[in-house]
């Protein structure tokens, strides 16, 4: 029986394992005569695939689909009428069912068949989806995942699925459990068609590694060939052939390198489901925003970040975000805001998890460290708040008093930090007590191609990541001078003073005369790195170096350039740290400190557009930025600033004049952001403890600074006034009739009013409000219905702007779904 069915499945393409198996078979068999077989390679690569390899394929594919599906499920739950989501989930259980019959996995087959039946009934309209059914389907999907993992681990399959299957039944009684499936009816055209379109193959990372290393060998061989040819005859035909070979090799190398990259989406797709489950378990409401899912990262890196990220997000939902009641009491929105984002910053990828919860109570953390015996009272007293915050990374310390089912069970931030540091990354905290916490994971872009500048010191060569190098100047050029100040050296480049680090001295390499300065930008500040010479720029594949090499703190990785001589990649920030260079504190750091400053609040003194001097609490300022005037528009009834790909409200108290650039303070609580235009930032001051009360909304108080009365602006009022223009714009789903009227006429109006409009939801998105035409296709019952004619009975006339906007606003306000 097995034999016959296997033949059928392989030819019909209805089951997903055989196509992959065929592809794997075809490759090595075709090139059998060219590739010499490695004697240690015991299994002939073109041998027919055994059953357990098909099983491995099945497990891998199921795992992958489940990951991709996580977002779909949540979206479907939010809107059970969403046909696309329903279809995706249906396809999954259907495919699982098909493969199970073939692989003889009765447990999985029974589960997937039951789910398929239930979903099929929803699809043909004989059942309506409700919460009970959604939960039952989710439970089955989870169970399929669990069983798959058990099969993979070779564990016995425990537990019973009867309850899960019973929950799927329409009348939810155990008697109506679906009968066993007839194996001949397993291949349906839907899944076959969907799979045939896919042109992807799953490869083992080892194979990619071999390709990569073969590629490097090829480059080295090409270089050697080029050297040999150049020393001999100059036959133009040979030269041309070599040129062509070089170009092809370069192209190939690019392509091979790209095979290792994957979008962070692979990491983020599971986040919506996880947040939903965690929040539901704790009785909290969380609004999740995911940003930057298309940033690319090395595949392996993605796998390694997965666990730490899950831990951090769970922590944020569990420890950070308060219960709805607590949030009401703290005058926050009832739904906690959680922002998960990824971006590339120089040669690093930054993944940030920001919540607007309670932040970390540093004093309490310190007290707990003392209670746990990790620190002495006296020791604690001598620590700065920043150092105390770092206690969160101590093993055996949790900021929470009670252990919950979600987190706080021993595996803590110490493990997260250790894991990230093992990748050559770091974890940074930005604590806003009472207002939230941002945890940023920085991981290097290792294993990817890096654009570098090669510098020479003595006989040694090192690579510098190009993004870190601001500019290169020769020491002899005009406008560059070096001065000895005490035992330090200071470089002055066109009037700008920079600390100077001599690479030769720091690395204790016998160097020549410093011939060039590379101005290195780090997060904390810039410095000048003196090197003998700047040799070349090169695109390099950087790999992590051995722990003993990384332990020096000087290097970010190692690489094998085309010369065939290994080279180390310097770590700009690490060099500064090792050389003991101290930078003036960046504003961001100040914010951090200011939150906890004891004697008085620190604030930024600036000159307003009207020429008056004012103050803004430093803690509220995210950044001071110079922006082009062309980024500012008066649109949708207020001034708005386009920055970092977003639109934020801009407050301008006075006339900004006609200058092409203006300076703005970016005021943010981590979720909502407002820009405040100023004329000139002056200095950072510590406010006296006593402030005279202000009697206008935008003034929090009046401080006496050197005899001058200066108004302190109320950042809270600024943010409150920003209203609808928050960073996270509510999502409007335009469920139009396909005529495009909504997109053409409605979308600009709504976007101007601060909403984000889509005609189709992306994975994991939940609309705050749905708009539909009353005679259009059926949508969610809570949709705002628009009528074509004035005075229609059900809904709002589609050109009644005021009523329309009011209806949308009220739906959003009550978190309408």
């Amino acid at each position: 029986m097995t034999k016959a069915r296997r033949g059928k499945a392989a030819s019909s393409d209805g089951c997903f394992a055989p196509p992959a198996a065929l592809a794997l078979q075809a490759g090595p068999a075709a090139s059998r005569s060219v590739i010499p077989l490695n004697p240690f390679f015991t299994r002939a690569p073109y041998a027919p695939l055994a059953m357990d390899e098909l099983l491995q394929e099945f497990i891998a594919e199921t795992r992958e689909t489940l990951q991709a599906l996580a977002g779909e499920i949540v979206a479907w739950e939010a809107d059970p009428a969403d046909r696309a989501r329903l279809d995706a989930i249906f396809r999954f259980v259907h495919t699982v069912k098909g493969s199970c019959g073939f692989l003889d996995l009765p447990r999985l087959e029974r589960l997937s068949h039951a789910a398929e039946d239930a979903l099929g009934a929803v699809r043909d309209g004989s059942r309506t989806p409700h919460t009970g059914l959604v939960n039952a389907v989710l439970a089955v999907v989870d169970r399929i995942g669990e069983l798959t993992e058990m099969i993979d681990a070779g564990q016995p399959l425990d537990g019973s699925d009867d309850l899960l299957i019973a929950a799927l039944a329409e009348d939810a009684t155990p008697g109506s459990v679906a009968p066993m499936v007839d194996p001949t009816s397993q291949t349906a055209p839907t899944s076959g068609a969907a799979r045939a379109n896919s042109r992807s193959v799953r490869l083992h990372v080892d194979l990619l590694d071999r390709m990569m290393s073969g590629m490097s060998d090829m480059v080295l061989a090409r270089n050697e060939l080029a050297r040999t040819l150049r020393s001999g005859t100059h036959d133009p035909r040979t030269e041309a052939a070599l040129e062509r070979l070089s170009a092809t090799v370069a192209d190939m190398r690019d392509a091979v390198t790209r095979t290792r990259m994957q979008k962070v989406e692979a990491l983020f797709s599971a986040v919506p489901r996880m947040v939903r489950d965690t929040a539901a378990e704790l009785g909290k409401t969380v609004t999740l925003t995911v940003d930057g899912a298309d940033v690319e990262l090395d595949r392996e890196m993605i796998e390694l970040i997965r666990d730490p990220l899950v831990h951090i997000i769970r922590n944020s939902v569990d420890h950070g975000i308060e219960t709805p009641a607590e949030r009401r009491a703290a005058r926050k929105r009832e739904a906690g805001q959680l922002l998960v984002s990824a971006r590339q910053s120089g040669n690093q990828i930054v993944i940030e998890v920001t919540d607007d919860g309670r932040g970390i109570d540093v004093a309490r953390l310190g007290a707990k460290a003392v209670a746990a015996g990790l620190r002495g009272e006296a020791e604690l007293a001598g620590m700065s708040d920043t150092q105390r915050l770092q206690l969160i990374f101590e093993p055996g310390l949790s900021s929470r008093d009670t252990v919950t089912a979600t987190s706080g069970r021993g595996v803590g931030m110490d493990v997260v930090r250790t894991n990230i540091e093992q990748l050559g990354g770091r974890v940074q905290l930005l604590n806003r007590p009472g207002r939230g916490l941002t945890i940023a994971i920085y991981v290097p872009l290792t294993l990817s191609i890096l654009s570098t500048i090669v510098v020479g010191v003595g006989a040694e060569r090192f690579a510098l990541p190009r993004q870190a190098v601001e500019e290169i100047v020769t020491t002899t050029s005009v406008g560059v001078r070096l001065d000895q100040v005490g035992d330090a050296t200071l470089a002055t480049v066109r009037g700008r003073r920079l600390p100077l680090i001599s690479l030769a001295d720091l690395l204790r390499v016998p160097g020549g005369a410093a011939g060039a300065l590379a101005i290195i930008a780090t997060r904390d500040g810039d410095y000048a790195l003196a090197v003998d010479s700047v040799l070349d720029t090169e695109e390099l594949v950087v790999k992590p170096a051995a722990p003993a090499v990384m332990a020096t703190g000087f290097y970010a990785g190692q690489t094998l350039p085309d010369s065939g001589r290994p080279m180390l990649l310097l770590d700009g920030a690490g060099l500064a740290l090792a050389a003991g260079v101290r930078f003036g504190r960046a504003l961001l750091r100040e914010e951090h400190e200011a939150d906890q400053a004891e004697p008085g609040m620190t604030a930024l003194l600036f000159e307003g557009l009207d020429g008056r001097r004012r103050l803004m609490a430093l803690a509220a300022i995210d950044r001071v930025e110079t922006v082009g005037r062309d980024a500012v528009r008066f649109s949708g009834g207020r001034l708005r600033l386009a920055i970092d790909g977003r639109i934020i409200p801009l407050v301008a108290a006075g006339d900004a004049g006609d200058t092409p650039r203006m300076i703005v303070l970016r005021v943010s609580d981590g979720v909502t952001e407002v820009a405040y235009a100023i004329a000139d930032p002056l200095e950072i001051v510590t406010l006296p403890p006593e402030l005279a009360q202000g009697d206008r909304d935008e003034v929090a108080g009046v401080a006496l600074l050197n005899g001058e009365q200066v108004e302190l602006l109320d950042a809270h009022a600024l943010l409150a006034a920003a209203g609808a223009g928050t960073v996270e714009r509510p999502l409007c789903l335009l469920a139009g009739d396909g005529s495009g009227w909504m997109e053409t006429f409605l979308k600009p109006t709504l976007e101007g009013a601060g909403y984000r409009c889509v005609s189709r939801l992306a994975a994991g998105e939940t609309p705050s409000v749905t708009l539909a035409l009353d005679d259009g296709p059926e949508t969610s019952p809570d949709a705002v219905k628009l009528t074509r004619d004035q005075g229609g009975p059900h809904g709002i006339y589609r050109y009644d702007r005021a009523a329309l906007l009011a209806a949308v606003a009220s739906r959003v306000a009550r978190g309408g779904r």
């Binding site: 490097s216 003993a548 990384m550 094998l560």
Partner: protein, 146 residues
């Protein structure tokens, strides 16, 4: 049980290396120094298209450094990184029975840390070393996990 061991010479002694730890045996090309790294790290070398970290086995054992022109090395892979451990000379690969290090042998320093057993070659006892314990920066917990 007989296991395969590679017999090599380091710091004037014969040592036995578990065959499972040996990736290959090579003569290295140029070794590029790693400024700032501890003394046991001789530098980096290219092995075909791969970069290996070269370990001065003499220093790692707490003895005097190997000669500057030492090039013969045993390649091993620990925790995803490739290392080349320099050796003075290599003999053969042969099966031996691994015996525990007897209490009566007073090993000190690097020898004590790296020794994982004894093998007997034609009546001569040879210390079996764990290469992972000679590589700086690899912690004991990682060794246990591996």
């Amino acid at each position: 049980m007989m296991e395969l061991f590679l017999i090599a010479h380091v710091a004037g002694r014969a040592i036995a290396i578990d065959g499972a730890q040996v990736d290959s045996v090579v003569d290295l090309g140029e070794v590029v120094p790693v400024p700032g790294a501890e003394r046991a790290v001789r530098g980096l070398a290219a092995l075909r298209s791969r970069v290996v970290t070269v370990i001065d086995t003499g220093v790692a054992l707490g003895k005097s450094p190997m000669p500057a022109d030492a090039r013969r090395a045993v390649i091993t892979r620990i925790d995803g990184h490739h290392y080349a451990l320099l050796v003075d000379a290599l003999e053969d690969v042969a099966p031996f029975v691994r015996q525990p290090v007897e209490g009566g042998i007073a090993l000190t320093g690097g020898w004590a840390e790296a020794a994982v057993g004894l093998v007997e070659r034609e009546g001569e006892p040879v210390l079996a070393l764990d290469l992972a314990r000679l590589v700086p920066g690899v912690t004991t917990s990682e060794i246990l996990a591996a």
